[in-house]
C-alpha cells in the first residue's frame, strides 16, 4: 500500500514538474479544452434559463370552465367556493351568461345576434392554475371536468406544450453537441499525449527493459491527461462565468426596461462539479487510449 502510494505520488510529482516546464503549452491546452467545453455549456445555460422563464410565467395557461345551461345559482356559488379552496388554483374570474352575452353583442359587430330570442351562452369560470407543469394542469382540468354542473373544462395549454417541446429539442441539441465535442476533446488530448509518448520513447524503452510494468509507464501519462481535463473544466467554468456576467450586464438593462427582474442564472454547484468531473474523465480516457496504442506498438 505504501509502495503503491509512493508510486502514485512520484508519478504525480513527475507530471507536475513536466507541466510546469511547458507552462505555455499546458495553458494553451487548458484554453482549447475550456473553449470546447464552454460551447455546449453556453447552450445549456441558455436552455436552463429559458426553462426558468417558462416556470415563472404563471398567468398564461388557463382553464375555461363552461357550466351547464340549466345550472342553479347556488351550484355556481358552490363551485366558486370549491375553486377558492382548491390548492392548485391560483385565481379565477367568473363571467355570468348575461355579462358574456352583453360583451358578445357589443364586440361581435353582428347585428343579427341581437335578434336571437335566447341567450345561447353558458356561465363560465376562467381559472389560472398554480405552476406551469403541463401534466399537473391537465390533471386539474380532468378533475374540474368531473365536478357537478360543469359542462366542459377546456385547457388552453397548446402554447406551453409547444414551449416545452422546443426546450426538449434544445436539450437534445445540447446533448448532441456535448457528445460531438467530447469526441473532439478525446482526440485533442489523445494526440497531445501521443506526442508526449513519442518524445519520451527512450525513457519508456529503457524503463520496459529494466522491468517497468505497463501500469508504471502509463501512470504519468494518465495523470497528465487528467490534469489537462481538470484544467480544461476549470477554464470552461471561468469562461462560462465571464459570458454569464457579460450577458447579465445587458439583460439587466433590458429587464429593467420591461420592469422584470429577469437575470441569467449561472450553472448550479452540481452542474459545475459534473462539468469538471466529465472533463477530467475525458482527459483520462483520451490519454489511456493514446498510451495503450503506443505501448502496443512498442510491443514485447
Amino acid at each position: 500500500m505504501r509502495q503503491w502510494l509512493s508510486l502514485h505520488a512520484q508519478a504525480m510529482r513527475h507530471v507536475i514538474a513536466r507541466l510546469r516546464k511547458n507552462m505555455l503549452a499546458t495553458f494553451m491546452m487548458w484554453c482549447v479544452m475550456g473553449i470546447t467545453l464552454s460551447l455546449p455549456g453556453v447552450l445549456y445555460i441558455a436552455i436552463d434559463n429559458l426553462n426558468r422563464v417558462a416556470g415563472s410565467v404563471q398567468s398564461e395557461p388557463q382553464i375555461s370552465l363552461f357550466l351547464k345551461l340549466d345550472i342553479q345559482p347556488d351550484a355556481i356559488a358552490d363551485i366558486k367556493k370549491r375553486l377558492s379552496d382548491h390548492a392548485e388554483v391560483a385565481g379565477y374570474r367568473f363571467v355570468s351568461k348575461q355579462d358574456a352575452w352583453e360583451e358578445l353583442k357589443k364586440n361581435s359587430g353582428l347585428g343579427s345576434i341581437s335578434d336571437l330570442e335566447q341567450n345561447p351562452l353558458p356561465d363560465a369560470f376562467f381559472i389560472q392554475p398554480k405552476g406551469s407543469n403541463p401534466e399537473a394542469i391537465e390533471g386539474l382540468q380532468h378533475e374540474l371536468q368531473q365536478w357537478p354542473g360543469v359542462e366542459l373544462a377546456q385547457l388552453d395549454a397548446t402554447w406551453i406544450k409547444r414551449l416545452y417541446a422546443v426546450l426538449e429539442l434544445g436539450r437534445k441539441a445540447v446533448l448532441i453537441l456535448a457528445v460531438l465535442l467530447g469526441f473532439a476533446l478525446l482526440a485533442i488530448i489523445g494526440n497531445t499525449i501521443r506526442l508526449q509518448v513519442v518524445t519520451q520513447l527512450d525513457e519508456i524503452e529503457v524503463s520496459k527493459l529494466i522491468g517497468a510494468t505497463d501500469n508504471f509507464i502509463r501512470r504519468p501519462f494518465l495523470y497528465a491527461g487528467t490534469f489537462y481535463g481538470l484544467g480544461g473544466g476549470l477554464a470552461a467554468l471561468v469562461f462560462l462565468l465571464g459570458i454569464t456576467l457579460l450577458f447579465n450586464s445587458s439583460t439587466a438593462e433590458i429587464a429593467r426596461l420591461y420592469s422584470s427582474d429577469f437575470n441569467l442564472h449561472f450553472l448550479d454547484f452540481f452542474s459545475s462539479l459534473s462539468l469538471i468531473f466529465i472533463a477530467a474523465l475525458l482527459g483520462w480516457i483520451g490519454s489511456y487510449t493514446a498510451v495503450n496504442r503506443s505501448l502496443r506498438r512498442l510491443g514485447k
Binding site: Q3, S6, Q10, V206, S207, L209, G211, T213
Partner: protein, 231 residues
C-alpha cells in the same frame, strides 16, 4: 540458475541467429560470451534478460520457464537483472542521480532509502561527485560506469553487460572489469558479452559462439572444482 536447452532464435525474415544452444550457468559465476560480431552474443543476452523469447527450446531463469510466463509477469522477472547495454541507453534529459534512480522508482523505492542506495551505487563506480551532471557531459568511460551504477542500484542477482568495454581504452576497460569482479565477490552472477578476449580471466566460464552455434563451453574453475569434489 540459468538453463538453456536446445534454444533457437529466429527473427522474422532472417536466418536463425541462434541454433540449438544448450548450457547451464551456476549462481555466482562469471561468464564471458565471446564470438565475432554477428555470432549471436547480443541475442543470447536478450534471451537471458527475457527481453526476447526463444523461437524454440526452453530458457529457464531460476526455474521459471520464460516462454511460458504471462506477459504481465515479465517485468517482475526483468527486475532480477541488472542490464548494461552496448549503447548505454542513458536518459540524456536527466542528471546522473535521476538516471540511477529509475530502477528504484520502478520498484517503488523513493525517499531517503532510495537516496542512500543511489549514492552508494554512484560511489561504487566513482561518480559520487557528479550526481547533478548530465550524462552528455561525462566521458565515455564515465557514461559506462553510470550505466553500471544504474544496473546494480536495485541489487540484482544477475548482472548482464553487452560489450561493456567496447569503446573504451585499456585503462578504463580494466577499471570496469575490476568493478565486475567486485560484484562477483559479493555473489552476483555476471554475464558479459565481449570480443576483447584479453580481458577474460582464467577462472571465468566462457561461452564461445560461432554463427549462432555454441562452439566451445568452458566451465568456470569454481564449477569444475565443485564437480570434482563431489563426483
Amino acid at each position: 540458475m540459468i538453463v538453456f536447452d536446445q534454444v533457437s532464435k529466429r527473427y522474422p525474415g532472417s536466418q536463425e541467429v541462434l541454433r540449438n544452444v544448450s548450457f547451464e550457468i551456476q549462481s555466482g559465476d562469471m561468464v564471458f560470451v565471446i564470438g565475432h560480431s554477428g555470432a549471436g552474443k547480443s541475442t543470447l543476452l536478450k534471451l537471458i534478460a527475457a527481453t526476447e523469447r526463444p523461437t524454440s527450446g526452453t530458457v529457464l531463469i531460476g526455474n521459471q520457464n520464460v516462454s511460458k510466463l504471462r506477459p504481465a509477469a515479465i517485468p517482475y522477472l526483468r527486475r532480477k537483472f541488472g542490464l548494461v547495454f552496448q549503447d548505454h541507453k542513458l536518459l540524456y534529459d536527466r542528471n546522473c542521480y535521476e538516471n540511477v534512480a529509475l530502477p528504484l522508482y520502478i520498484n517503488g523505492i523513493t525517499g531517503s532509502e532510495a537516496g542512500k542506495r543511489i549514492r552508494a551505487a554512484l560511489d561504487k563506480v566513482g561518480l559520487l561527485g557528479k550526481e547533478k551532471a548530465l550524462p552528455i557531459t561525462l566521458s565515455g568511460g564515465e557514461q559506462q560506469r553510470l550505466a553500471i551504477a544504474r544496473a546494480v542500484v536495485s541489487r540484482p542477482s544477475i548482472l548482464i553487460a553487452d560489450e561493456p568495454t567496447g569503446n573504451l581504452d585499456e585503462g578504463y576497460a580494466s577499471e570496469i572489469m575490476g568493478l565486475f569482479h567486485a560484484f562477483q565477490q559479493v555473489g552476483v552472477t555476471i554475464i558479459i558479452a565481449t570480443h576483447d578476449i584479453s580481458s577474460i580471466d582464467s577462472q571465468a566460464a566462457v561461452l564461445q559462439l560461432n554463427q549462432g552455434q555454441l562452439e566451445d563451453w568452458r566451465r568456470s574453475a569454481r564449477q569444475a572444482s565443485a564437480e570434482t569434489v563431489q563426483p
